[in-house]
Subunit: 227 residues, 2 copies
Amino acid sequence: MVDKAISNLFEHLFKMDTLSGHDTKEKILNVAEELFAQHGFDSTSMREITGKAHVSLALVNYHFGSKEKLLIALVEKHFSAINEERRRIYEALRRDFEDKPIPLETILRATIKPFSEKMHQTPQKIMGLVQINSHQIKNNPSFWADMWRKHFSDITEWFVREIHLTLPNLSEDDIYFRFHFMIGCMLSSIANPDRLELISKDKIRIAESEDRYQEELIRFCINAFTD
Amino acid sequence: MVDKAISNLFEHLFKMDTLSGHDTKEKILNVAEELFAQHGFDSTSMREITGKAHVSLALVNYHFGSKEKLLIALVEKHFSAINEERRRIYEALRRDFEDKPIPLETILRATIKPFSEKMHQTPQKIMGLVQINSHQIKNNPSFWADMWRKHFSDITEWFVREIHLTLPNLSEDDIYFRFHFMIGCMLSSIANPDRLELISKDKIRIAESEDRYQEELIRFCINAFTD
DNA sequence: GTCTATAGAACGATAGAC
DNA sequence: GTCTATCGTTCTATAGAC
């Protein structure tokens, strides 16, 4: 027990003392995010990351253990941030609406906005991180299942419960299917926004329509839930 | 001219004579498709491909020129097959409906089915091929634009024109946005069907709901186009 | 057309000095 | 915590025999 306390104390002092170390870790994380999103996981070498971050090659392994664990740290960082904001909004909504159903649009907005806004903050295509091609992660069949359970179970439960309250005519299965397609829609919108410019023959420019893009996505999903 | 004729003749005899060669090319294509889809482009080595195809490493370069060109050949093969079927259906529909608008559901079914059925034929997740991480392809900014213009321009034009006829209240931009999100939906549904099992906590099993999966996707899109 | 053998480059990881 | 140097591996691509 005393050992534990002393160890904690040292850990604390240690952390206080090495904000510069923290900066390096953060810098690697930021550069890796940009490069992974741009080129994908496998096409991004640790030499690229550390080169662009102006730190030595060895520091990825020192701070994260491996290239793969760096990726996982990165993905989880974003999942946490997005879902924490959702939880915050969800709780406020339930409080505000007491026992009444929350309007569909409000539910969808609360779910989509924390995601697509976070994505605009980090202008890189974050989905390069989620559509991962790493062998080891793919060969661990429970990786995504574990990730899902850790970060998204409660979000899903809230969403399904609230949609059920708001749209009692939809069966449970209906809601599952539509939530699934809606997520696909969100992911793909963020991962490949350029396609809209191709489809519209450059009549719509993403850069000039950022707000509209989000609003159209929300409207698309509102419709999709409404028979 | 005579040269050309002779050359064509030789080419013909050559092809007749080397069905085994054709088999090898096809075999490489099939194995590559499976592995690219499973592990992604960068994580699949030519050694893996040629090993599993029981041919020598050098044959990929002989038949396709490079690993990258093999991928492009593969992607284009599928694009062609899917879109040829769409064109066939589209033409028949326009003929059948004379000058009348085609019902929304019929338009969407004609667009979605050739895609999602093709995907079930090749059980591999074909989207591993489309969400490509290759440096060279990504660094060629016009690669996807060229691909799009070559394979999807006419499909898009037909779709936009018909939707406009059927749903005259939608603006041109509205149609572009929704077609864009719909494609995202289709791609993501095929790329990550497992997510539905996670969402539903295994209450819905993909293997047992293949037809329903497609029908729910179509319904989702019908709704999405209907305000 | 198909093979073996290998060149040449890039990668992830780690040991060891500071 | 950060660095340099390097090990061992694996990759794509190609040369050359058959």
